[in-house]
Protein backbone atom coordinates (compact mmCIF):
# COMPACT_ATOMS: atom_id res chain seq x y z
CA UNK A 1 0.00 0.00 0.00
CA UNK A 2 2.83 2.34 0.83
CA UNK A 3 4.42 1.80 -2.61
CA UNK A 4 1.15 2.72 -4.30
CA UNK A 5 0.39 5.70 -2.11
CA UNK A 6 3.66 7.57 -2.78
CA UNK A 7 3.18 7.94 -6.54
CA UNK A 8 -0.45 8.79 -5.95
CA UNK A 9 0.50 11.51 -3.51
CA UNK A 10 3.11 12.84 -5.93
CA UNK A 11 0.52 12.89 -8.68
CA UNK A 12 -1.85 14.88 -6.46
CA UNK A 13 0.89 17.36 -5.55
CA UNK A 14 1.84 17.76 -9.19
CA UNK A 15 -1.76 18.29 -10.19
CA UNK A 16 -2.26 20.92 -7.51
CA UNK A 17 0.95 22.68 -8.53
CA UNK A 18 -0.12 22.77 -12.16
CA UNK A 19 -3.55 24.05 -11.24
CA UNK A 20 -2.11 26.81 -9.10
CA UNK A 21 0.32 27.76 -11.84
CA UNK A 22 -2.45 27.89 -14.35
CA UNK A 23 -4.64 29.95 -12.08
CA UNK A 24 -1.80 32.34 -11.48
CA UNK A 25 -1.37 32.92 -15.21
CA UNK A 26 -5.06 33.56 -15.83
CA UNK A 27 -5.05 36.40 -13.33
CA UNK A 28 -2.37 38.28 -15.25
CA UNK A 29 -3.31 41.67 -16.80
CA UNK A 30 -3.36 40.51 -20.46
CA UNK A 31 -6.92 39.28 -20.03
CA UNK A 32 -8.04 42.68 -18.82
CA UNK A 33 -6.40 44.29 -21.82
CA UNK A 34 -7.93 41.87 -24.25
CA UNK A 35 -11.40 42.15 -22.83
CA UNK A 36 -11.99 45.94 -23.31
CA UNK A 37 -11.59 46.08 -27.10
CA UNK A 38 -14.61 43.85 -27.81
CA UNK A 39 -16.62 45.96 -25.40
CA UNK A 40 -15.43 49.28 -26.77
CA UNK A 41 -15.68 48.27 -30.45
CA UNK A 42 -19.47 48.12 -30.65
CA UNK A 43 -19.79 51.54 -29.03
CA UNK A 44 -18.50 53.71 -31.96
CA UNK A 45 -20.94 52.26 -34.52
CA UNK A 46 -23.82 53.10 -32.21
CA UNK A 47 -22.65 56.72 -31.96
CA UNK A 48 -21.81 57.13 -35.67
CA UNK A 49 -25.27 57.43 -37.28
CA UNK A 50 -25.98 60.83 -35.71
CA UNK A 51 -23.13 62.91 -37.20
CA UNK A 52 -23.81 62.10 -40.90
CA UNK A 53 -27.45 63.22 -40.56
CA UNK A 54 -26.52 66.53 -39.01
CA UNK A 55 -23.48 67.16 -41.18
CA UNK A 56 -25.12 66.76 -44.61
CA UNK A 57 -27.15 69.87 -45.51
CA UNK A 58 -29.85 69.01 -48.03
CA UNK A 59 -29.84 70.76 -51.38
CA UNK A 60 -32.75 72.99 -52.31
CA UNK A 61 -35.69 70.89 -53.55
CA UNK A 62 -39.28 71.67 -54.49
CA UNK A 63 -41.83 70.29 -52.05
CA UNK A 64 -45.17 71.63 -53.31
CA UNK A 65 -46.66 73.87 -56.01
CA UNK A 66 -49.92 75.71 -55.42
CA UNK A 67 -51.93 77.81 -57.87
CA UNK A 68 -54.25 80.59 -56.83
CA UNK A 69 -55.40 84.16 -57.41
CA UNK A 70 -54.00 85.73 -54.23
CA UNK A 71 -50.98 85.33 -51.96
CA UNK A 72 -50.24 86.36 -48.40
CA UNK A 73 -47.21 88.15 -46.99
CA UNK A 74 -45.57 84.75 -46.59
CA UNK A 75 -45.66 84.29 -50.40
CA UNK A 76 -48.08 81.38 -50.00
CA UNK A 77 -51.24 81.17 -52.08
CA UNK A 78 -54.12 82.20 -49.85
CA UNK A 79 -56.89 81.32 -52.30
CA UNK A 80 -56.01 78.06 -54.09
CA UNK A 81 -57.77 77.41 -57.39
CA UNK A 82 -57.05 76.01 -60.82
CA UNK A 83 -59.83 77.91 -62.54
CA UNK A 84 -59.35 81.63 -63.17
CA UNK A 85 -61.26 84.59 -64.54
CA UNK A 86 -59.81 86.67 -67.41
CA UNK A 87 -59.03 89.60 -65.09
CA UNK A 88 -57.22 87.51 -62.47
CA UNK A 89 -53.59 87.80 -61.51
CA UNK A 90 -52.41 84.19 -61.48
CA UNK A 91 -49.99 83.08 -58.79
CA UNK A 92 -48.00 79.92 -58.27
CA UNK A 93 -46.28 79.46 -54.92
CA UNK A 94 -43.38 77.08 -54.64
CA UNK A 95 -42.48 75.61 -51.26
CA UNK A 96 -38.89 74.46 -51.06
CA UNK A 97 -36.83 72.53 -48.56
CA UNK A 98 -33.08 72.53 -48.08
CA UNK A 99 -30.47 75.25 -48.17
CA UNK A 100 -27.97 76.71 -50.59
CA UNK A 101 -28.18 78.66 -53.82
CA UNK A 102 -30.62 77.55 -56.49
CA UNK A 103 -31.71 78.86 -59.89
CA UNK A 104 -35.48 78.66 -60.15
CA UNK A 105 -37.21 79.18 -63.47
CA UNK A 106 -40.92 79.42 -64.20
CA UNK A 107 -42.53 78.96 -67.61
CA UNK A 108 -46.18 79.83 -68.25
CA UNK A 109 -47.72 78.36 -71.40
CA UNK A 110 -51.03 78.45 -73.29
CA UNK A 111 -52.32 75.30 -75.02
CA UNK A 112 -54.71 75.29 -77.96
CA UNK A 113 -55.44 72.49 -80.43
CA UNK A 114 -52.09 70.85 -79.85
CA UNK A 115 -50.19 74.11 -80.16
CA UNK A 116 -48.27 75.70 -77.33
CA UNK A 117 -47.52 79.40 -76.88
CA UNK A 118 -45.13 80.68 -74.27
CA UNK A 119 -46.95 83.22 -72.13
CA UNK A 120 -44.03 84.29 -69.93
CA UNK A 121 -40.73 83.00 -68.55
CA UNK A 122 -38.75 84.19 -65.58
CA UNK A 123 -35.58 83.06 -63.86
CA UNK A 124 -34.47 83.98 -60.38
CA UNK A 125 -31.77 82.81 -57.99
CA UNK A 126 -32.57 82.22 -54.35
CA UNK A 127 -30.35 81.47 -51.36
CA UNK A 128 -32.58 79.90 -48.68
CA UNK A 129 -31.15 78.82 -45.36
CA UNK A 130 -34.06 76.45 -44.74
CA UNK A 131 -37.66 75.87 -45.82
CA UNK A 132 -38.85 78.78 -47.97
CA UNK A 133 -41.68 79.85 -50.23
CA UNK A 134 -41.28 81.65 -53.54
CA UNK A 135 -44.15 83.01 -55.60
CA UNK A 136 -44.36 83.91 -59.26
CA UNK A 137 -47.28 85.77 -60.77
CA UNK A 138 -48.56 86.92 -64.14
CA UNK A 139 -51.26 89.30 -65.23
CA UNK A 140 -52.59 90.52 -68.56
CA UNK A 141 -53.99 94.07 -68.75
CA UNK A 142 -56.50 93.25 -71.50
CA UNK A 143 -57.57 89.97 -69.89
CA UNK A 144 -56.57 86.33 -70.31
CA UNK A 145 -57.93 84.50 -73.33
CA UNK A 146 -60.14 81.61 -72.25
CA UNK A 147 -58.50 78.23 -72.58
CA UNK A 148 -56.00 75.80 -71.15
CA UNK A 149 -52.73 76.86 -69.56
CA UNK A 150 -49.82 75.26 -67.71
CA UNK A 151 -47.03 76.42 -65.46
CA UNK A 152 -43.75 74.57 -65.07
CA UNK A 153 -41.03 75.03 -62.46
CA UNK A 154 -37.42 74.20 -63.29
CA UNK A 155 -34.89 74.03 -60.48
CA UNK A 156 -31.20 74.15 -61.36
CA UNK A 157 -32.03 73.14 -64.91
CA UNK A 158 -34.19 70.16 -63.96
CA UNK A 159 -38.01 69.97 -64.11
CA UNK A 160 -39.30 70.25 -60.56
CA UNK A 161 -43.06 70.19 -61.06
CA UNK A 162 -45.93 71.53 -63.15
CA UNK A 163 -49.63 72.36 -62.88
CA UNK A 164 -52.37 72.92 -65.43
CA UNK A 165 -55.18 75.45 -65.11
CA UNK A 166 -58.00 76.96 -67.11
CA UNK A 167 -59.30 80.46 -67.74
CA UNK A 168 -63.06 80.82 -68.26
Amino acid sequence: MSTKSVPAALAVVAAVALTLAACGKKEEPPQAQVAPPPVSMPAPPAAEPAPPVAAAPAEVAVATLTLGNAVGADARVSAPTETFAPADTIYVSVDTTGAGTAAMAVKWTYHQDGQVAVVKEELISIAPTGPATTEFHVSKPDGWPAGDYAVEIVLNGKPAGSRTFVVR
Partner: protein, 73 residues
Amino acid sequence: MSKDMPDFSNVKSGSSSTAPKVYVVVKGDTLSKIAKHEYGRAGDWKRIFEANRDILDDPDKIFPGQKLKIPPQ
Protein backbone atom coordinates in the same frame (compact mmCIF):
# COMPACT_ATOMS: atom_id res chain seq x y z
CA MET B 1 -51.45 78.12 -87.61
CA SER B 2 -49.67 80.30 -85.08
CA LYS B 3 -51.75 83.30 -86.28
CA ASP B 4 -54.63 81.87 -84.30
CA MET B 5 -52.68 81.90 -81.06
CA PRO B 6 -53.41 84.83 -78.72
CA ASP B 7 -50.88 87.60 -78.23
CA PHE B 8 -49.18 87.41 -74.83
CA SER B 9 -46.61 90.14 -75.40
CA ASN B 10 -48.20 92.46 -72.84
CA VAL B 11 -48.18 89.95 -69.99
CA LYS B 12 -46.64 91.33 -66.83
CA SER B 13 -44.82 89.14 -64.35
CA GLY B 14 -43.16 89.30 -60.97
CA SER B 15 -41.93 87.21 -58.07
CA SER B 16 -41.10 87.34 -54.41
CA SER B 17 -39.64 84.91 -51.94
CA THR B 18 -39.25 84.38 -48.24
CA ALA B 19 -35.66 83.37 -49.05
CA PRO B 20 -33.05 85.95 -50.03
CA LYS B 21 -32.88 86.28 -53.79
CA VAL B 22 -29.57 86.53 -55.55
CA TYR B 23 -29.12 89.19 -58.24
CA VAL B 24 -26.22 89.11 -60.66
CA VAL B 25 -25.10 92.64 -61.54
CA VAL B 26 -25.01 93.51 -65.24
CA LYS B 27 -23.39 96.48 -66.97
CA GLY B 28 -25.28 99.70 -66.33
CA ASP B 29 -26.85 98.55 -63.05
CA THR B 30 -27.05 100.75 -59.98
CA LEU B 31 -28.42 99.80 -56.57
CA SER B 32 -31.35 102.16 -57.18
CA LYS B 33 -32.11 100.47 -60.48
CA ILE B 34 -31.96 97.03 -58.89
CA ALA B 35 -34.16 98.20 -56.00
CA LYS B 36 -36.71 99.56 -58.47
CA HIS B 37 -36.77 96.22 -60.27
CA GLU B 38 -36.94 94.08 -57.14
CA TYR B 39 -39.07 96.20 -54.81
CA GLY B 40 -40.74 98.65 -57.14
CA ARG B 41 -39.04 101.54 -55.32
CA ALA B 42 -35.61 102.93 -56.18
CA GLY B 43 -35.41 104.40 -52.67
CA ASP B 44 -35.05 100.91 -51.21
CA TRP B 45 -31.46 100.66 -52.47
CA LYS B 46 -30.17 100.94 -48.89
CA ARG B 47 -31.73 97.60 -47.99
CA ILE B 48 -29.69 95.94 -50.71
CA PHE B 49 -26.57 97.85 -49.71
CA GLU B 50 -26.90 96.88 -46.04
CA ALA B 51 -27.50 93.22 -46.92
CA ASN B 52 -24.29 93.16 -48.93
CA ARG B 53 -21.90 95.12 -46.73
CA ASP B 54 -19.64 92.07 -46.68
CA ILE B 55 -18.83 92.66 -50.36
CA LEU B 56 -19.74 96.33 -50.85
CA ASP B 57 -17.93 99.29 -49.31
CA ASP B 58 -19.36 101.99 -51.53
CA PRO B 59 -22.97 101.91 -52.81
CA ASP B 60 -21.84 103.62 -56.01
CA LYS B 61 -19.35 100.89 -56.84
CA ILE B 62 -20.90 97.65 -58.02
CA PHE B 63 -19.48 95.56 -60.81
CA PRO B 64 -20.89 93.26 -63.51
CA GLY B 65 -20.88 89.68 -62.30
CA GLN B 66 -21.20 90.54 -58.63
CA LYS B 67 -23.86 88.45 -56.88
CA LEU B 68 -25.96 90.57 -54.54
CA LYS B 69 -28.30 89.20 -51.91
CA ILE B 70 -31.76 90.75 -52.24
CA PRO B 71 -33.53 90.63 -48.86
CA PRO B 72 -37.17 89.48 -48.89
CA GLN B 73 -39.72 92.28 -49.10
